[in-house]
């Protein structure tokens, strides 16, 4: 059961009771797990799992209907020559392109995710943010990736951050809510842990590391802390929250490192696209290349796959 928060004081008191994080320890643990050597059939299993967890993303000012269409096509059938390659989890676009993505994806398994709430900075009024969300949902978004107000968080206005999440959650209706913490701007691991709990208490279905628009995006220590947060939250409340790592994850090797973190921190319940996602664009092609390499036993050229 989700605990109810009646006031900012209660929220603050609850968050202040969370254990601190020792930066050196968490980085050492993440580095140690990064030395896991995943080979042979376990590597194939991991690659397919990673493909199925990709939120194939395009978030550029230059995005067009054509760009979104080709992305959606790839999302449905990442490797046109191999039907055993799973579809990705979702396509992630700006709100104005949701309807188009929806029309290409139809009622396939691939979800439409939309960033909203004045992504990536979040610097807009709550009314504008909520309108952003409602439009995306109305256009057919299954998932909303909102950003928290990092300024409010860093200046201690935790109640404001919390209220916004609650309001956005309500505006989402049946759409799933991913709350982007933008951990690169929160800077400290203590902040990442507190923001994770704040977002989960506010009603997040997923907590997500980054927008991909600031210099520091997902890192393995940050992911480790967020995984520990969802694990502890599940133990405390029974609510199972997902984690999405986004930004800077470009290679199969990177993706497998994150899967190892999931595997050794929260376990099998999170080793599914319902609970763990990669927000990425170029990652998918590297996963496909490594998959083919595993099958052929020889290195594969990049042009084997479409550049989308």
């Amino acid at each position: 059961m989700l605990p109810k928060i009646a006031s900012e004081t209660e929220l603050r008191s609850l968050l202040s009771r969370l254990s601190g994080v020792d930066a050196v320890g968490v980085e050492a643990r993440a580095a140690k797990l990064a030395t896991r050597s995943i080979k042979k059939s376990s590597k194939m299993q991991a690659i397919d799992l990673a493909i199925s967890m990709v939120d194939l993303t395009t978030l550029e000012g230059a995005d067009t209907l054509g760009r979104v269409r080709s992305l959606c096509t790839k999302a449905l059938r990442p490797d046109p020559f191999d039907s055993s390659v799973p579809a990705v989890a979702a396509v992630c676009v700006y709100p104005d392109l949701v309807a188009h993505a929806r029309s290409v994806l139809g009622d396939s398994s691939v979800a439409v995710a939309s960033v909203a709430t004045a992504f990536p900075s979040g610097r807009a009024s709550l009314a504008v943010k909520l309108l952003d969300v409602r439009e995306a949902v109305a256009s057919g978004a299954d998932e909303i990736d909102m950003v928290i107000d990092r300024g409010a968080f860093l200046s201690g206005r935790l109640g404001q951050v919390f209220d916004e999440i609650v309001a956005v959650k309500a505006a989402c209706g049946s759409a799933h809510l991913k709350v982007i913490l933008e951990t690169g701007e929160l800077v400290t691991y203590d902040n990442v842990r507190r923001a994770s709990w704040l977002a989960m208490l506010g009603g997040a279905d997923f907590i997500k590391t980054s927008t991909g628009k600031v210099a520091v995006a997902a890192t393995t220590p940050v992911a480790l802390i967020m995984l520990e947060a969802v694990r502890d939250f599940a133990e405390a409340t029974g609510e199972v929250i997902g984690v999405k790592v986004a930004g800077g994850i470009r290679t199969a090797k990177d993706a497998i490192r994150y899967l190892v973190l999931v595997n050794e921190t929260v376990g099998s319940a999170w080793l599914t696209p319902q609970r763990f996602r990669f927000g990425a664009s170029s990652l998918l092609n590297d996963l496909l290349m490594q998959r083919l390499k595993q099958q052929r036993g020889a290195y594969v050229r990049a042009d084997e796959f479409s550049g989308d």
Binding site: A6, G25, R36, E235, A236, V240, V260
Partner: protein, 501 residues
């Protein structure tokens, strides 16, 4: 704000939620073994005396085993009294004629060479270490080997700077050092002994442990490649009788010993009425103190590292866990969950966390002491990991509800076995931590700096790790108080053991 009643998260009882973290490790890892062939072992090895290997067939030989399989790896020579005498005399000649007259700068350059050669042959040495000792390749590759090379690199730089080491101007070497090292970090301990001794201008006779002689013999090959003058370092394999002969030899000026307190005591007695110098690095029963405000996830990892690193075959292992009562249940719950995740098995597999117990004798000792733990009424949690069928193995084990008076809280087990006790106040934590005859290492976990330093000041331990455990560095002095020995290895302090000051 949502206007609902406050639910205090901290008060939520986990057991009331049917949510249980599903089994960890659902993503299976296929075996990822490092190749044993990289070790390039010879069928038999002689002794390394006066710059050359002796003919193995001239000695009585014994097999060194792979503890993960129980099978022999190679035959090594049993050095007898005459061999010890030859080695000591060679070391004396090298001291008188070459090493003590060479400039510090030139000595240093030899040490730099050795450091580089160790780096060049690191992968081979890591495999040898893992085969002979049973430790996971991840540890020999990422910890033992880099640290061994770094140790030579560090002391190389001291060789021509001894005037500035704080022991007065032109401090003199002691002479010929006899060095006896244990089986838990075979190559690293050789580096800890040889590097400062050579930098200070001494010559050495090194005796590796009976069960782990191989990496020292590869090191002998490296010394040949480095063209270290003959006799400066001599390496004698053998059992306790070899060490005993070395201690007794009148030509030795100094003994440096790392090993058990029992043997250390015997050596100290033997040398008591002589002029020989002595440093001892002996056993321990390290307390790892966890305060309620500690960073809990890092605490769990730190406790795991503290006791299961190198199968717990670590003199400074955090084998006594002292947890503040207010968080004891929480820490235990997380520890028990975590210990189940440890990957125990083939030491050559890159994903192995806990390797093999070094010998049948050590395994027997661990079994005996853990049996006592149960007999004395402690609650035992054993990792559910599957153990291989052959070789020497022991599942990572935690004992809760342990009292200060229990044997498992007082005796060094030297294996993957943790004893958990509780305390209420910082004062009580310090009192319990110090309530031992040992004084090697302790850990303190807290987010409160002032308390950490308060505790650190009061702990009777040569090393205190705050919010970390089992960290080593060539610049950092290491060594014990009380019955954990005397003298320091590492850092500027480590030179003192090999200078006549």
């Amino acid at each position: 704000m949502r206007t609902c009643e406050l639910t205090n998260l901290v008060e939520i009882d986990v057991s009331e939620n049917n949510m249980e973290i599903s089994r960890l490790g659902a993503l299976a890892y296929d075996p990822a073994p490092e190749s044993a062939a990289l070790a390039k072992l010879q069928p038999s090895y002689g002794l390394f005396i006066d710059g050359a290997f002796t003919d193995p067939s001239k000695h009585q030989q014994f097999a060194t085993l792979n503890p993960a399989t129980g099978l022999p790896l190679a035959m090594v020579a049993q050095a007898d009294v005459r061999d010890v005498d030859h080695a000591v005399k060679a070391a004396r000649r090298a001291y008188d004629n070459v090493w003590s007259t060479m400039s510090g700068a030139e000595r240093g350059k030899y040490l730099f060479r050795i450091a580089r050669l160790i780096q060049e042959r690191a992968r081979e040495l890591a495999v040898v270490e893992t085969l002979d000792n049973g430790k996971p390749i991840r540890e020999s590759r990422d910890i033992d080997l880099p640290l061994a090379a770094a140790h030579f690199f560090y002391y190389a730089g001291w060789a021509d700077k001894l005037d500035h080491a704080g022991f007065g101007s032109s401090p003199q070497p002691i002479g010929v050092a006899g060095q006896i090292i244990p089986w838990n970090f075979p190559l690293l301990m050789a580096a800890w002994k040889l590097a400062p001794a050579l930098a200070a201008g001494n010559t050495c006779v090194l005796k590796p442990a009976e069960t782990t002689p191989l990496s020292a013999l590869i090191l002998a090959e490296i010394l040949e490649q480095a063209e270290l003058p003959a006799g400066v370092v001599n390496i004698l394999t053998g059992d306790g009788s070899t060490g005993s002969a070395l201690v007794a030899h009148p030509g030795i000026d100094k003994i440096a010993f790392t090993g058990s307190t029992e043997v250390g005591r015997l050596i100290q007695e033997r040398l008591a009425s002589t002029d020989k110098r002595l440093t001892l690095e002996l056993g321990g029963k390290g307390a790892n103190i966890v305060f309620e405000d500690a960073p809990i996830d890092e605490v769990v990892e730190g406790i795991i590292d503290g006791i299961f690193f190198n199968q717990g075959h670590v003199c400074c292992a955090g084998s006594r866990l002292l947890v503040q009562e207010s968080v004891a249940d929480e820490v235990l719950r997380r520890l028990v969950r975590r210990v189940d995740q440890l990957r125990v098995g083939d030491p050559l597999d890159k994903n192995t966390d806990v390797g093999a117990i070094n010998s049948a004798a050590q395994l027997e000792k661990i079994r005996e002491l853990t049996a006592y733990g149960e007999l004395e009424g402690a609650t035992r949690y054993t990792s559910s990991c599957r153990l291989p069928d052959t070789g020497y193995w022991f599942s990572p084990t935690i004992f809760a509800d342990v009292s200060q008076s229990h044997r498992i809280a007082r005796e060094e087990i030297f294996g993957p076995v943790l004893s958990m006790l509780t305390f209420r106040t910082p004062e009580e934590a310090v009192a319990k931590a110090n309530n031992t005859k040992y004084g090697l290492a302790c850990g303190v976990w807290s987010e409160k700096g002032s308390r950490t330093l308060w505790v650190a000041e009061r702990l009777r331990a040569g090393v205190v790790w705050a919010n970390t455990y089992n960290r080593f560095d060539p610049t950092s002095p290491f060594g014990g108080m009380r019955e954990s020995g005397f003298g320091r290895e590492g850092g500027r302090h480590g030179l003192e053991a090999y200078l006549n000051v």
